[in-house]
Symmetry: C2
Subunit: 416 residues, 2 copies
């Protein structure tokens, strides 16, 4: 894509009404636009990052046999009353509104109750089990305060998955598969090394649930990590967990983190409350076991923007960068334009996504845009590089540019 054809604009100002580093950077680099506190539009560059994150999540959920669907924002009161969660005293982040006939409806902040309700239509016998479904949904949560940029919004994108099983054992097995799928997701997103499966408080059916916590200064959580045992524990349940898991508290390291996912074993509580059952081989009515698995898609993008950035701008990991290469043309002589156009075509033909800065901005501006936008690879075509018969290359993570051959460049961009 040429910058002349892309709707994008960098902006060097500091934004007075935005305290979060992730939103500051993403707004300045042209990835998001703030519509109101806690609600952001995603401009073309930002949308590409979201789509890349979603695609990784999609592939890993599909790989554990889950099927994608999309449910609704509008929520029926009756469904949520079955579990007492319609009440604003029980759930304090509902947005509610009314139909023309005054029927009260809610805006989905979760889809646990509606999917259990829906499955009454599709699950009857043991033959219909197990089943796992997920969606990418825009969730609405009426948060009192929102000052973490896209890390916590009133409107945000979440991948939520729900699995339905005949037995506790079958759910537990799937739960373990989901755990592994989640870690694969974080590794592919480039935050695997800093993300810990963390014990958190459970429910009626399990001692613990699991959170996925990523080390992040802007995070709102604190966890305790036992590196040798590769165990992490949420602050809330520290005491319990130390006892239960037999950890020496002195060996725990306290770190600030952001939650990037959580998984929950509901057992049969919710299905019992809502009346979703199946009949087994002997035609007996049995309780269903369900699990719930969430990843905040926009939140993960915010965490990555916080963690992977420096004083010059964003530093996108290879797998989710909106484009992989930032091609800078310096000069507008015919020979330079031709060489840069050719290079653009060569990179695209190699199947590598590239943003081609064909503007008439000064070189310094182009370089600072490249740093702010943060694509992994920057290359320069100029009279000087043409004369040398080479290309100037700089990785976003490096401070040194180097001259390399076109062959070496393409090798670098297409290997593994």
């Amino acid at each position: 894509m040429r910058t002349s054809q892309l709707f994008t604009q960098t902006n060097k100002m500091t934004l007075a009404d935005e305290v979060a580093k992730n939103a500051q950077l993403l707004i300045r680099a042209g990835f998001v636009y703030k519509e109101m506190a806690g609600a952001y539009a995603y401009l073309p560059l930002g949308l590409r990052v979201l789509d890349n994150i979603k695609q990784i999540v999609r592939e890993e959920m599909n790989a554990i046999g889950s099927n994608e669907l999309i449910m609704t924002t509008l929520q029926r009161k009756e469904i949520w009353e079955k579990t007492t969660r319609w009440s604003d005293d029980v759930v304090d982040i509902w947005f509610k509104t009314r139909l023309k006939d005054e029927t009260e409806v809610g805006l989905g902040w979760s889809h646990e109750e509606p999917i259990v309700e829906m499955m009454k239509q599709y699950i009857h016998s043991f033959k219909d089990l197990p089943v796992s479904l997920y969606q990418f949904q825009t969730k609405m949560r009426n948060e009192l305060r929102v000052k973490s940029g896209i890390m916590r919004g009133r409107e945000f994108v979440m991948k939520d998955m729900y699995s339905f099983h005949a037995t506790a054992e079958d759910l537990e097995q799937y739960y373990e598969q989901a755990k592994e799928a989640y870690m694969r997701v974080y590794r592919r997103l480039g935050i695997g090394d800093d993300t810990f499966i963390t014990f958190a408080s459970g429910g009626a059916f399990t001692k613990f649930s699991h959170e996925f916590q990523t080390i992040c200064d802007a995070g709102e959580d604190v966890i305790y990590v036992h590196r040798a045992k590769n165990i992490a524990v949420n602050e809330e349940i520290l005491e319990d967990a130390v006892k239960e898991l037999g950890i020496n508290p002195d060996e725990l390291e306290k770190v600030k983190t952001a939650e990037v996912g959580n998984i929950f074993n509901f057992g049969t509580q919710k299905t019992d409350e809502m009346g979703l059952y199946y009949t087994d081989k002997d035609n007996q009515q049995k309780s269903l076991h369900i699990g719930s698995y969430g990843i905040g898609i926009t939140r993960v993008m915010g965490v990555i923007a916080e963690k992977m950035s420096d004083e010059r701008g964003l530093v996108w990991p290879e797998n989710i960068a909106p484009y992989r290469v930032y091609l800078v043309r310096i000069g507008d002589e015919e020979s330079v334009v031709k060489a840069a156009d050719d290079m653009y075509k060569t990179i695209e033909d190699a199947g590598v996504s590239v943003l081609y800065d064909d503007s008439d901005k000064r070189p310094g501006e182009k370089f600072s845009d490249a740093d702010l936008i943060g694509l992994p690879h920057r290359i320069v075509v100029s009279a000087k590089t043409i004369e040398a018969g080479q290309i100037e290359y700089k990785a976003r993570t490096s401070s040194e540019a180097e001259m390399i051959s076109q062959e070496m460049l393409i090798n670098r961009l297409t290997r593994g």
Copy 2:
């Protein structure tokens, strides 16, 4: 995809609370689930159709230089007050709710005002023009009555595009391009022959706007078509148009239609009201011209379900079918399973999407599922076809099955 791995279920019952044929069929075939009147979940098969429609629309909007973004559902009151459209007397389909601090907010039923507001941050000079942006958004409209299935919902997916121009001429040129892009979309969706660009009432700046109307018995509109001149006119403006366009009213054919898109030239009205201007080459402040272009994605899916179906079920056009081939295995002998598995692999390897019914349902049930789900091509592998060294093939639109060779099958599925 094997049916054993796909979350889908057909259902032969008549649905008492659903009067629309499109929703009846789509629910029975396992494409959608009704969450409440006017709000439907899209199950895996339905989501694939939506994605296919979106991808066609996306390609055609990109082809006229538009850029995809995604805006927010939450809407600020102040922005809509600028054009008086916050008022429920002016716009009677608002859903509104409140933040914790009692600030009133709306749920987006259109994004005209918010995108004009947003562009104040990005459009300053003639150099920033023209620009065209679009999104696939879940719109919320508090309709009094909803009985047209997914053709008119309280919550539905829309592609809305907005273009910004320095001059009326530039907008008009783009408007013509968009018109052509829209007709390309409908042709690719398989409803091109039945879709008419229709004159409808304009605004302050143009005599007429344009609707795209598709012949459909379930439609809510009536248009008058002049086939020889290839002109169509909306009922509302018939008198005016007959005069203005010099049509003989006797030559008009009255048809029932559903609106599948509309485009609108706003001139400078909205940008003037909201205070979005640009500076021209002489540094003079000038008014901006904008156009607005909508396609109801879920509505189009509903119209296609209405039009392209028969007493046995849905009949998807090739380009938007969730899968192109329905592969039926009859029998569970080892040789049949192996032959069907091989055929499944052969079709997938040819790059053709296929739904493989590997269930233990009776042949009659499998055939009626195939008809109800409505994929374009049905093929059967059984002991009989193996013995014949051929495959049984039937197009969804044909009532006759025929025996053909594997080579001929792959040819048929992969040719242009």
